[in-house]
Amino acid sequence: MNLIYMGKELYHRKRRTLTAVFSLALGITILITINALSKAYSEAARMPLKEIESDIIVQRAGNVPENLDGAVFACSAVTIRKDEVNQIRQLQGIQGFVQALLLWVFDADRFTIVLGFDPKNPVGPGALRTQVTQGKFFEKGKNQALAESSYAETYDIKPGDTVTVGGQDFQISGIVDASRATKIAVANIYLDMEDAQRMAKESKQVQNVSPFESNDANILFIKANPEQIDSLARSIKKIIGEKASISTPASFLKHLGSLFSLSDKFSLATSLIALVITILIVLKTMAGNLAERANEIGVLKAVGWSNKDVVGQVIGESIIQCLAGGILGLIFSLIAASMLGLIQVSIPIPWEMSPTPHFLPGGGDPVFKTLQLPVSISWRLAVFSIILSTTIGAVTGGLLSRRISRIKPSEVLKNE
């Protein structure tokens, strides 16, 4: 075995070598790109939930409120009882948990969407803490509230002001930037869970549609072990029942409706087909190469190369060639990834996840979370594809060299 000899043989058969190198490069590019895209789409589908620090959001659909007066439940989020909350909380795989309460509040002079939650809990809307642009985040038990910026502008609200919502007074602790806020469970006023619960409990409209006790909730934000998200979603569905509306990265992926987000099976199948075609091309070019070299291999054997030496030479050439193809494919993929990363995707946020009354200006308009496709090639994928190319080289080389190495030198060296 001799690297220079291998290199010279490959160089001498430029066309064949380039065919093999480029077809392998192409196969590897397809493999890496499809996998990176599929990962990018599932990554993107995770974004709307990720920015509200959740993996699962649980709601229960209910009836439309009879009268739009005082605090009401949007039909997409009605009571989740305390006992159900406790049951869910005990499920395996939950890493973080917060209950919240979303209310539409119709006061005489204004309409307000209110979201109540525990401000100390980092899960769920607690993530808004980093988006406060003026003043401070609200604190528990102090009758404080956070106002969303466009609402604050409309009603000329500043930190320190007092607002009256649903008959209760709150001191505005700060303003949160709506454009930078999450797209899920968007509200005008964010306040402590207990205040919201009191508002709901005292509302006749709420009680009419969906009986509510002072410890109940209507939205649950859950952080979970990524592997257990789907099984958790199923268990939760069992607890909440028919009307459960459970959002997970998978449910967003469905809304994305891209070919690459359809299923892992699609990307797996495409990668496999690309690979098989690639391997066939590599095999064919190498077989052609070896067929032309029967004489040369006879010479090698005549001068004392063993079958193993011949096999080593052929496998070596094949590995060099395939490794070059793999590296080239990786380079192509990096270029492809940087271009695909420019693609913008808009993830539709279902109305139910951020309900606004239809009769308001802009109410019921589709809401999108727009982001650039987070395409990246992981180290694991890169290393895997290099190992894969090397393996393809070794296996095809090994397959083809076995027979050719058994050539009888006396057969090919007959004077032609």
Binding site: L300, V303, S410, N415
Partner: protein
Amino acid sequence: MNNILTAANLSKSFKALQVVKDVSLTIQNGEFACLVGKSGSGKTTLLSILSGLEKPTKGRVSINSTSITDSSENELALFRREKVGFVFQSFHLIPTLCAWENVALPLFPVKMDKEIRKKRAIELLNQMEIGHRAEHRPSSLSGGEKQRVAIARALVNRPEIIFADEPTGNLDSETSGAIMDILKHLNKKNGMSILMVTHDQDLAASTDRIIHMKDGKVVS
């Protein structure tokens, strides 16, 4: 003088066709023997058997008392690498490798210092008086030069015997003479044993011994 090569009762058949028929012969150490006979008489086949390229259907071969009759393929490869040098009519050089690399070809599977390998190849090319063509590929060499490279390759593993199958068959008479001189020189000065096949009566006459073959048999 002892024998470098002993063959006893060799026969070789290809299917029904018997090509070598009960051949026994010996080559002495340092002898330059010549195998002649009509085309198709079995010279190449006999040479292949004697050199370990091919196995006989029957009979025994040993070189320097190493029997190769029962050797495996791998053992035969090793045997060819260590004990035997080959020179062919059509040179059989590797087209992608330059002259010195062709010479070093039998040493590629041997674990040794690359510089030593190259030095040995260049030395042999100098000996063949084509050191200046060491970096050239076979396609740019003349027939005589190619055969000199091939002889250098046959010598690189320091063999005990050289088998040459019509080494001058593709060369004009002047170049043939030069190649013959090289072989004779190797035989006389280095004591190299040589078994050569040729059709050329004059070349044959200038060797130590002529072995005649006819219809697969050695007749004298």
